[in-house]
Amino acid sequence: MSSENLSINVHHLTRVEGHGNIEVNLKKGTIEKCSWNVVEAPRFFEAFLQGRPYQEVNHITSRICGICSIGHQMASLKATEAAMGITISEQTRLLRKLLLHGENLQSHVLHTYFLVAPDFFGVGSVFPLVNTHKDVVLRALSLKKLANDLCDLVGGRTVHPIRCKVGGFTCLPKMSEMEQVRGRLEDARPEIDKTVDLFATLKIPAFVRETEYVALSSRSEYPLYEGELTSSDAGTFADAEYLKVTNEYCVPQSTAKYTRHKRESFMVGALARFNINHERLHPRAKKAAAALNLKAPCHNPFMISVAQVVELADSLEQALSLIDTILQKGLQEEALQVKPRAGRGVGIVEVPRGILFHDYTYDDQGEVVSANCIIPTNQNHANIQKDMEAFLPTILNQSPDAIRLNLEMLVRAYDPCISCSTHYLDVSFIE
């Protein structure tokens, strides 16, 4: 059945960075409207950070997002340390990298298993799968638990970590605990292999739209914590030049700002990272990419979830290697000594949904004068819009239900945030 006249209203998609709506209007086969709208209640972090002391800034910005709270803290600490000229120890760098890989693992498990996979099993959520596919659900839950236990161990708490401070950590994990989690990570390798096998069987919609990809890049590793700001179109930029890339702008249909650079939109996240850094993947992750038929450059946004599965394999291996280094070198208590000073600093990290920027200016008392945070989901909004405009004409010959499902899956693939990528896209057909 094809649709001559069609009106789609995807109602309120509540989430951290956006209540999202999809609106589509089709009259006599002509697309009159095709729009991705974000109508989330704004929370004004950049305003209320002003005047707050540097010691609590990473704890405040952590609260932007429960699921990426580790990433926000890392970007925040890097920005504050850059502003105040603070250098961190190698030990702190290793532990922070480990935390980011833990977050990447738990977030990607959540998205791929809990939010994406139910579509392919033809159910509305992971809950009915507890009865029908218990092994799959238990695998997902145990992988997620492992990742969260790792983050608890290093950060003191996986949601809004406690131990991460400007200059280092309030306290350190015990070696015996590190050894134990190392063993569990190693035991999880077959579970990652089974995850790859599962996603290799899923039928990914064939849709291609070339775009610009933005991510950190590094010569030495597949980076999350540090690297050079890189565009697939325009090469590398210094951290301080990030505004040249992001170019935020306001649009009337959205309470989240949009971004653009060389083209009308760009993409961040697992697929952008894969396209820019695939050569740096661990051999096991490269093997996973081959099994999943993911090849760089890939211009199919539905493959973002597949790139996340590849990153599961990579983050597991990088976490193991970081723990080995830590076990070998040991951990020493380090005094946190910070002398606040006036200045501006930019902190950039990769979080599960893409590249994240924090930019603070401090006064000489160490209180925030101004703050700017650019969140991955905001950077993807314009790209989602442009994808929808290109994708919709290719699926008009399908039934209204199929059109709706395809549009839902497109938005969900971006993993815009835990909630927004779920199956709450309540699409209603008026005509």
Binding site: T14, E46, E56, G66, L141, G156, V159, S419
Partner: protein, 247 residues
């Protein structure tokens, strides 16, 4: 028949609902005891037929109010989930700045496109039956509250300060480390989460019902600190309470 429960959110980071998902291996057990009929973080289906509603987040704009009132009408029991819902949490840090100013700082000349008012906790808009405080909530406390509700009992949330839990765990007082801690007046129940990780309590669970601020001042005086020096910390998670007390 299993009781039907639903989870909702307003302005928040959704970290408290994530804590529910983080129950992990306990989820299959939970699903054996209750039917989850609305939980946007995890499911397509959404029903208005539920007995217990857990609501995360603060109320920050007019359009939130009818949605919350509808949830209140449907639910026999409404539980506020986490700091944003219980005390308005960090969302209330903007409250005294003037809404025009905060809108302009974030959105510049497009400020008028973005509706907002000073953040309120859930109980400032509709009656709330129980509160699970914290930023984020503690998983064990969530489980205890669900157990009590299923047994038809009143869930008990501690009304003594975090200091008690620090003492029970034999923690080093973080004042000894030169930190400024809100433990003496903050509601316990988190197991002294932050001080146990050698970081000061930031008051995310709100104050106990009869906070002894003079006692807090005495402790600070002992360490050569003045109450004035901790004013900003008071506001971090409790700006709404502080502003309400002033009025």
């Amino acid at each position: 028949m299993k009781p039907k429960i639903a989870l909702f959110d307003f302005a928040s980071c959704e970290g408290c609902q994530l804590q529910v998902v983080n129950l992990e291996m306990e989820i299959p057990t939970l699903l054996g005891l209750v039917d989850i009929v609305a939980f946007r973080e995890a499911m397509t289906e959404a029903s208005d037929d539920y007995a217990i509603a857990f609501v995360e987040g603060s109320i920050t704009r007019e359009s939130d109010i009818p949605r919350l009132k509808k949830i209140r009408e449907h639910a026999q029991v409404l539980v506020a989930l986490g700091a944003c819902a219980c005390t308005a949490g960090v969302n209330a840090l903007k409250n005294k700045m003037g809404m025009d100013r905060v809108q302009t700082i974030v959105y510049g000349d497009k400020a008028s496109l973005y509706e907002t008012f000073p953040a309120r906790p859930i109980h400032a808009v509709v009656p709330v039956d129980y509160q699970i405080p914290g930023c984020p909530i503690h998983k064990d406390e969530f489980v205890r509250v669900v157990q009590a509700l299923l047994l038809g009992k009143k869930p008990e949330i501690p009304d003594y300060p975090v200091c008690v839990e620090c003492k029970l765990q034999d923690n080093l007082c973080v004042y000894e480390l030169g930190q400024k801690c809100l433990g003496p007046i903050t509601r316990a129940g988190c197991g002294a989460w932050c001080p146990s990780n050698l970081d000061a309590c930031e008051g995310c669970r709100g104050y106990i019902s009869d906070p002894n601020k003079n006692g807090q001042a005495d402790i600070m005086a002992k360490y050569g600190l003045s109450a004035e020096m901790i004013k900003k910390e008071f506001r971090l998670f409790n700006a709404y309470t502080e502003d309400s007390n002033e009025q």
